[in-house]
């Protein structure tokens, strides 16, 4: 099966020799610091911020799906600013071309050679804004990068920086002017989150913060790339024992039996990785079923396709049912 990991396995193994994992408690603190830092900009939504942080630690990508104006882009930018890393943003539009993302070979008049001009995808954190506005061909350029952690332009393959994380947003409205992400491609996002509207208190707080200078302007980095790389290594070493693995696969099996298309094995892998990150946030070196239960609604729901006639109306319902029906080992 294909590996959802953006880093090719070979790289992962070579890294294991050189990268010293951080202690679990340090990673938990780091995550808390980032979450808190981002929380200066994003009011409320602590859970969602945490989900983005866990996705980054779990070597995944995240899709934010909501109506415009609830802070999807702001969330991605705040995360990028909190980590001292390269950040690029791509605004997807209907006329965006694949090369606008990956980069192009430009003919250099002086050297009389083609030189590669890297596209915005060559960054540690890439924000793909309103990804569903671009046609599928362009979307897939980004998605290939996500899957392979590399881009190929004119036959030359170039690796992307490590870490490489995509935070994509998509508009839940205006279906006529958007291209829905193909089901197979949605599968490449580890999690899909929605922010939702703030409640009155939160909105009032939000207004108070932003009425003068926008707080993001003064947001300082609280961690760096090296810490993130080492923290990812920590997450990767979290133990997932047989009972937990079986539990994850039974949840997936349940969705497959109930839905037209259920969670894929890639989804199960993503689930376990997300659960590993969740365990680390909780200060544990091993995954417990609670971690799985916490993550599964965000990891599985968008990978489930229901038939219109079924009595389970959407992925969320099926995941809820799965949690009720599958025995916790």
């Amino acid at each position: 099966m294909t590996d959802a990991n953006p880093s090719p396995p070979t790289e992962a193994t070579s890294r294991a020799d050189t990268v010293e994992p951080l202690p679990v408690s340090t990673v938990a603190d780091l995550a808390a610091t980032v979450t808190e830092n981002v929380g200066q900009v994003i009011v409320g939504h602590t859970d969602e911020i945490e989900h983005v942080v866990t996705t980054i630690l779990a070597r995944g990508h995240v899709l934010l799906d909501d109506v415009p104006g609830v802070g999807k882009t702001m969330l991605a930018r705040s995360i990028a600013r909190s980590v001292d890393c390269s950040f690029r943003r791509v605004q997807f539009t209907p006329d965006l071309l694949p090369s606008d993302i990956t980069g192009v070979n430009v003919f250099n008049q002086k050297t009389r050679e083609f030189e590669f001009q890297p596209g915005p995808v060559f960054a540690n954190l890439v924000l793909g804004d309103e990804i569903n506005r671009a046609p599928p061909k362009t979307q897939s350029a980004l998605l290939e990068a996500m899957e392979e952690a590399q881009v190929t332009v004119d036959g030359t393959t170039r690796p992307l920086p490590d870490p490489f994380v995509v935070i994509a947003t998509q508009n839940a409205i205006e279906p006529n002017r958007t291209y829905e992400l193909p089901f197979a491609e949605v599968d490449r996002f580890m999690k899909k989150l929605s922010l939702g509207y703030p409640n009155t208190d939160e909105e009032s707080e939000l207004l108070a913060r932003t009425v003068g200078h926008h707080p993001i302007e003064s947001l300082d980095p609280v961690t760096n790339l090296e810490s993130i790389i080492r923290a990812r290594e920590t997450v990767a070493t979290v133990a997932v024992e047989e009972p937990v693995r079986r539990y994850a696969s039974k949840l997936a099996k349940y969705t497959r039996e109930r839905a037209h298309i259920g969670a894929s094995p890639r989804g199960t892998i993503a689930l376990l990785r997300a659960a590993q990150a969740r365990a680390v946030l909780d200060g544990r070196e091993y995954v417990i079923p609670d971690d799985i239960q916490h993550e599964v609604p965000y990891v599985f729901s968008h990978r489930i396709k229901t038939t219109s006639s079924g009595r389970d109306t959407d992925g969320d319902t099926i995941v809820e049912d799965a949690l009720d029906h599958v025995h916790v080992p």
Partner: protein, 767 residues
């Protein structure tokens, strides 16, 4: 207790000495009452499985022996004799169950765990060789208590009998009344014994009176019984249960009651190409007023379902549960179960799956069943060479079976000229179908229901027909068993059936060598109408949960265009020949392998009068209950934890009464001896904790993680913080696989502490 009174009574001058002898007799009478109490409980067992006479002989023999030997041998020798008698008895038991003493020694932990299971509420009747076990159990307490009483050691003499009674209380076999009588007897023995020792000062009668009062009060208020046997339901005849609630609620025991109602609520739906009867329970032991499932069960993962021998076709059925229930419907004979439920599935010795916790609405699973081909000729010539496991399980009749019952059975079979097992079964079936009427309004006859139904009654419902037919066949030496479940249900689509409470049913499976289990249907066909009327009535009244989306609007008698099944019926053929639905299995002797209720499944009845389940007509109009939905856990029997605590408490009690402290140390040493790896130990400790919590609060739901479960309990109750610690240790052991000896010990100790503190009565003794 009365030691402090000794001096006082001398000084009080109203003390009037009556002399010791009458008190001695009274003390001995008390002991007789105590002995009678537990012997009466054991007699209940032997009445079902045979051996009552032997039981009496052993009791009397041991009593006489003890009397004679009382002056001749020393206590130590007596103890040896008593224990020797026990060991000999249990050795016989083990031999009889085919294990032998070697097994008991090499599998001592299994032996202990069996005993614990028994002590936590498994009825004696569920044991394979209940009769032999009973006869093995009785000599030691009778001998020892009588011996000690003859030596005027009254306090000690009550202990063996008291322990025997306590054990029977824990198994759930001793009723509250019997327990009370036994306790009063024991207390009398102690009390009058004291008076005897002190030459019977009347002034001490007040002490006795107080003791009686306390004991009676305790016996009535302290319910130590973890999982009593189902109490006879005919006490509540004024409020009839529903048919499915009565026959389908407990996979271990089903009681024969009087009048029942039909519940129209949808229970489950089935998608299948081979409709049949849906079996939920198989019972082999008949007590006269209930059916009990005997023999062990094991987890589905470990033992699976044995396929029938020989060639067979398989059919797949998809079940969806619509209403919470405690039994799992399958098509007979099941060979595999897949789906949500298999994590907590057990399989009985009879090859019937049963869930370990309630199935809930929305559970879905597939059952693969085997169908073999039977026809009357081959069944008729199947012979009577039954394998031994079959004759052992399925020929039992209770001692209350009357001669008149056997005579009447023989008459009916003579009249029908039936001379092989198949013809006998067919003749009995035909007899009931033609001579009896169907009614749900039955007064529960006293005594053996089968006797009464055959000899005195002329109408009843499926429970009576199936019970009586099974017993008649057994009286004729034909292995048969009582099977419960549901008829096919209402056909709502080509392959879909909706099954309601009113479809609940009981029928008979008969064993044929080389074929296996074949279903027979003694209940008259007029059942269909009754049950169908009930459905129509429920729909007319707008009762809730009567229909699913699929069944709404489908006439009560189902889709009409499916005449095949009816046409296929061959009279007297247990299984329809054409459909392939039927099956007969050729299986060999193991009880599991053999069952094939073919006839039923396929819809046809062996006899024309049968209810045709497959025909697409829903026989259901039924009744059923809401009770099926109540999540009572099938093993009503309580939990290992109480058993452990009680065993420990017993040791403590022994310690108090003068048996050397060594005993209690032994118990602890004993358990340490069974320590395994830390991970296993911690898991076991957590299991005990969970039982403990389930007992105090509620059981863990299946979708709940240990942590979530505890958090939810903590939100509403003040849970002991030690529980959380054990949970964390368990998580470490189970989900991380890393725990050391020390952690495991901590978990075990914490649980043991918690357990002891919570144990009723016994906990205080320990403290």
């Amino acid at each position: 207790m009365s030691t402090s009174n000794r001096r006082r009574t001398i000084s009080v001058d109203l003390s009037e000495t009556v002399g010791g002898e009458p008190f001695r007799l009274l003390a001995l009478s008390g002991l007789v009452v105590l002995t009678a109490a537990y012997v009466a409980v054991l007699r209940e067992v032997t009445l079902v499985v045979g051996g009552t006479r032997s039981l009496y002989l052993i009791v009397v023999g041991m009593g006489l022996g003890a009397t004679v030997l009382a002056r001749a041998i020393r206590p130590r020798t007596a103890l040896t004799i008593g224990l020797g008698a026990s060991v000999l008895g249990f050795w016989t038991y083990l031999e009889a169950t085919g294990h032998g003493l070697g097994t008991a020694i090499t599998h001592a932990d299994m032996f202990v765990s069996d005993t614990v299971t028994l002590a936590t509420g498994m009825e004696l009747l569920q044991m394979l060789e209940a009769g032999i076990w009973t006869l093995a159990f009785v000599p030691a307490p009778v001998f020892l208590s009588w011996y000690l009483a003859m030596r005027e050691r009254y306090v000690l003499s009550v202990i063996p009998g008291g322990l025997a009674l306590l054990f029977l209380v824990l198994t759930g076999d001793a009723s509250m009344g019997v327990t009370l009588v036994g306790v009063v007897g024991g207390i009398s023995a102690v009390g009058f014994g004291e008076l005897h020792h002190r030459d019977g000062s009347i002034a001490q009668a007040d002490v006795l009176a107080i003791m009686f009062a306390v004991i009676v009060f305790l016996s009535l208020s302290v319910t130590l019984v973890p999982g009593g046997a189902a109490s006879p339901t005919f006490l509540v005849e004024s409020e009839p249960g529903t048919l499915d609630g009565v026959i389908d609620d407990n996979p271990d025991r089903t009681t024969i009651t009087g009048q029942v109602d039909l519940s129209p609520e949808v229970q489950f739906s089935v998608v299948t190409e081979e409709p049949g009867y849906w079996r939920t329970g198989v019972y082999d032991r008949y007590t006269g007023d209930a059916w009990v499932r005997s023999g062990p069960d094991g987890s589905y993962d470990d033992i699976g379902l044995a396929p029938p021998a020989g060639e067979y076709d398989t059919a797949r059925h998809t079940f969806t549960i619509e209403h919470q229930r405690n039994t799992i419907p399958v098509a007979a004979q099941p060979t595999a179960v897949e789906g949500d439920v298999t994590d907590a599935l057990r399989v009985t010795d009879h090859g019937q799956p049963m869930p370990d916790g309630p199935l809930i609405q929305g559970d879905m699973y597939n059952v693969e069943s085997a169908s073999l081909h039977n026809d009357p000729e081959t069944l008729a010539s199947a012979g009577t060479e039954y394998p031994e496991p079959i004759t052992e399980y399925y020929l039992q009749t209770p001692e209350s079976t009357s001669e008149a019952f056997e005579d009447r059975t023989a008459e009916i079979l003579d009249a029908a000229d039936a001379d092989n097992p198949y013809e006998k079964a067919a003749a009995i079936e035909a007899y009931f179908q033609s001579e009896y009427d169907y009614t749900l309004d039955v007064d529960r006859p006293g005594g053996n229901a089968a006797n009464a139904f055959l000899l005195e009654m002329d109408e009843g419902y499926c429970v009576y027909f199936a019970t009586t037919m099974t017993q008649m066949l057994r009286a004729e030496g034909v292995p048969a068993r009582y099977v419960t479940g549901y008829t096919t249900g209402q056909q709502v689509d080509d392959n879909e059936y909706v099954v309601r409470g009113l479809d609940a049913h009981a029928w008979v499976e008969v064993y044929f060598p080389d074929h296996g289990w074949v279903a027979f249907e003694p209940t008259p066909q007029s059942r269909d109408d009754t049950h169908q009327d009930r459905l129509e009535e429920a729909r007319a009244d707008g009762e809730p949960n009567v229909d699913t989306d699929a069944s709404a609007g489908v006439p009560a008698d189902g889709i009409q265009d499916e005449p095949d099944a009816l046409e296929d019926i061959v009279d007297g053929v247990p299984a329809p020949l054409d459909d392939g639905n039927d099956s007969d299995n050729q299986s060999d002797g193991t009880p599991d392998a053999n069952r094939t209720p073919d006839g039923n499944e396929s819809d046809d009845d062996p006899f024309d009068q049968r209810i045709n389940p497959g025909g697409g007509t829903a026989p259901g109009a039924g009744a059923d209950d809401d009770d099926a939905g109540i999540p009572s856990i099938p093993f009503s029997s309580g939990d290992v934890f109480v058993g452990l605590a009680v065993l420990v408490g017993l040791a403590a009690g022994a310690h108090r009464s003068g048996v050397p402290a060594l005993v209690s140390r032994e118990v602890r040493l004993y358990w340490h001896g069974f320590r395994e790896e830390p991970v296993t130990d911690t898991r076991r400790a957590y299991d005990r904790l969970e039982h403990l919590l389930a007992r105090s609060y509620r059981p863990r739901e299946r979708g709940e993680s240990p942590r979530g479960y505890l958090a939810s309990l903590e939100a509403t109750h003040s849970v002991d913080p030690r529980a959380r610690r054990v949970m964390e240790l368990y998580e470490r052991a189970h989900y991380a696989g890393e725990i050391d000896e020390e952690g495991a010990t901590e978990a075990i100790d914490l649980v043991t502490e918690l357990a002891r503190e919570r144990a009723p009565v016994v906990g205080h003794l320990w403290q």
